[in-house]
């Protein structure tokens, strides 16, 4: 053990506590702001301790919606976000795991070409093809639909690579044994590959759920109807109006609600989260 005596023992803890406090401060203020009435906040008189209208604000935010406009209540947006995040995560995992299975366990013409076609999409993020992608989605009648929110984002080079890497580590003996038992490829997939991939799927799900939940650019392009909005784009639309009219308590309550699910997932499933993050980057 390297020097651990006297005052220097506490230095790391002091630095870390300051770091944690600074990191948490914006969220604390956001929570405080969500519990004070709009007029207290907007004239700059907000105290640094929680105010009196916690329940009113969150009830209003969730089930009534901000009054200045005809916005949907946030509960609808939460449902939309939840559907989008789950469909994107599960969709990416499903189509990537079967693609990787195909590339690793079969020999067929154009196998490498197919692999490269998937791999190169890594270099085509949605930001570099915004309007043409929007036009195709519009032509296919996907605007304002869950399919439109999810399907165009569902291909995943990283997930495919991730599963391919993992399949390469599965011992060949397992396939041979399975073949001796007379199992076909799909039997082998269901009975051996899928159960072995459980922890990898969990790790990937955490990362992809957050990815899906936090999508921003694509949902603003593809949704026009208020009832199809996700919570992340809903917040931004609440503060577009002139400053004085912004209902800050509702905006901040929405921000709290938008953070809650993905942050909970990260904290509760930390082991898988860390693993997913570190592994998919390789």
């Amino acid at each position: 053990m390297v020097e651990h005596r006297g005052f220097s023992r506490f230095v790391p803890h002091i630095v870390l506590c300051i770091g944690v406090a600074i990191i948490a401060f914006p969220v604390y203020l956001c929570f405080v702001g969500s519990t004070h009435p709009q007029d207290v906040t907007s004239n700059g008189q907000m105290p640094l301790t929680p105010g009196p209208i916690f329940f009113e604000t969150y009830y209003k935010t969730l089930f009534v919606g901000s009054s200045g406009s005809t916005r949907e209540p946030v509960a609808t947006m939460l449902v939309n976000s939840f559907i989008m995040a789950c469909v994107i995560a599960l969709g990416k995992i499903s189509i990537s795991i079967i693609s990787a299975f195909s590339v690793v366990y079969f020999k067929f013409p154009f196998r490498m070409a197919a692999f490269w076609l998937i791999f190169i999409t890594l270099m085509l993020p949605v930001e570099v093809r915004i309007y043409p992608t929007y036009k195709i989605a519009a032509d296919l009648n996907l605007l304002d639909s869950y399919a439109g929110l999810t399907v165009p984002l569902i291909a995943s080079a990283t997930a495919t690579l991730f599963f391919r890497q993992f399949f390469m580590t599965i011992p060949d003996e397992l396939v041979e044994a399975s073949k001796l038992d007379g199992a076909g490829p799909m039997r082998f997939f269901w009975d051996t590959v899928l159960p072995l991939s459980r922890t990898n799927i969990a790790a990937l799900f955490v990362i992809l759920f957050i990815y899906g939940w936090n999508q921003y650019l694509w949902p603003i392009l593809i949704t026009t109807r208020d009832d199809m909005q996700t919570i992340v784009i809903g917040i931004k639309k609440m503060i577009v109006t002139a400053d004085a009219l912004t209902e800050w308590n509702v905006v901040l309550a929405t921000a709290m609600l938008a953070m809650l699910p993905p942050v909970t997932v990260v904290v509760l499933m930390q082991r898988w989260f860390v693993r997913g993050l570190v592994e998919t980057e390789k």
């Binding site: 004239n43 076609l117 396939v175 041979e176």
Partner: protein, 293 residues
């Protein structure tokens, strides 16, 4: 990359690849090629007809001082976010690595901002720094410093950098902590026995051993600033005031909006594509090196 034991089947492998390849073809390759094609076209004001103009969109772009300004803004933005978030994350990771018993708890308390959506992070920070109602903004003003990110371009850029840094620290922290924990304790202890002080050990042993992680994170941070800060900018400043916080990606979005200038927007997309290819190539070289190391 092929297994020894494989299945023989003629149609099944194609069937398994079909969903992914279909999505990739329809929503990735087709739009990308459309962007490429559109970048050579000039649409008339009503979007009714377009003419093939070769590289006119590109030459116009490179003759436009606004485009260089956006490039500069993006570069400054990237350098500031990468510099700030990497150094702060490294500081915290080194401390967490020392605080052996608390490392796990501190990790939990520091990594969650990764899960906050960029646009939501933008809202949090604008609420603190908005000149008329922000608590922190009032503190700054009471010190006699003029602060108005709604009107002053530099202030706005600082604000966007702070919000982006806040979100990125957790990611960098996680990778630094993993990197630090993989450095053998024996090496550090040997140096301590030789009489090297804590600072000296950091600069001569820990940092060099950590350099693959640093290089990797620099690339990841640049990619982050280029693409993932879109939500932060859109929620906080919309590229303003007077384009002081406009990044390359934001400009693609802004110029093409409502069919504004699709040709130029497409040309910018193509330039970005080339940039991404470059960055990805660099990233993979580093990763290969990291694995070898």
């Amino acid at each position: 990359m092929q297994k020894r034991a494989i299945f023989g089947s003629t149609s099944l492998p194609y069937l398994l690849l079909l969903p992914q390849l279909a999505v990739v073809a329809v929503f990735f390759y087709w739009p990308a090629s459309q962007a490429l094609w559109q970048s050579f076209l000039l649409e008339d004001a009503f979007g009714l007809s377009s003419t093939f103009v070769w590289f006119e969109n590109y030459s116009e772009l490179f003759a436009d001082s606004g485009y260089y300004r956006t490039m500069m803004t993006t570069a400054v933005f990237a350098v500031m976010v990468a510099g700030l978030s990497l150094s702060l994350a490294l500081l915290l990771a080194v401390q967490a690595d020392k605080a052996i018993h608390g490392a796990g708890i501190y990790r939990t308390l520091l990594i969650w901002p990764y899960a906050v959506a960029p646009a939501v992070a933008g809202v949090l920070w604008i609420f603190m720094f908005q000149p008329s109602l922000g608590v922190v903004a009032q503190g700054i003003r009471s010190l006699g410093i003029a602060w108005n990110p709604l009107l002053n371009g530099n202030d706005a850029l600082i604000l966007v950098v702070l919000a982006s840094t806040w979100k990125q620290i957790s990611y960098n922290f996680l990778f630094f902590l993993a990197g630090l924990q993989s450095i053998p304790r024996a090496v550090i202890e040997a140096a301590a026995i030789d009489g090297a002080s804590g600072t000296r050990r950091f600069w001569t042993i820990i940092l060099p051993l950590l350099s693959p992680t640093v290089f990797f994170l620099v690339v990841v941070n640049i990619v982050y600033v280029f693409f993932d800060t879109f939500g932060i900018i859109d929620a906080m400043t919309q590229g303003g005031p007077s384009k002081a916080t406009e990044t390359l990606v934001y400009k693609v979005f802004f110029d093409g909006r409502l069919g504004g200038n699709l040709g130029s927007s497409a040309a910018q997309s193509v330039i970005l594509m080339i940039l991404v290819v470059g960055l990805t190539a660099i990233q993979f070289r580093f990763i290969e090196r990291r694995v070898a190391y």
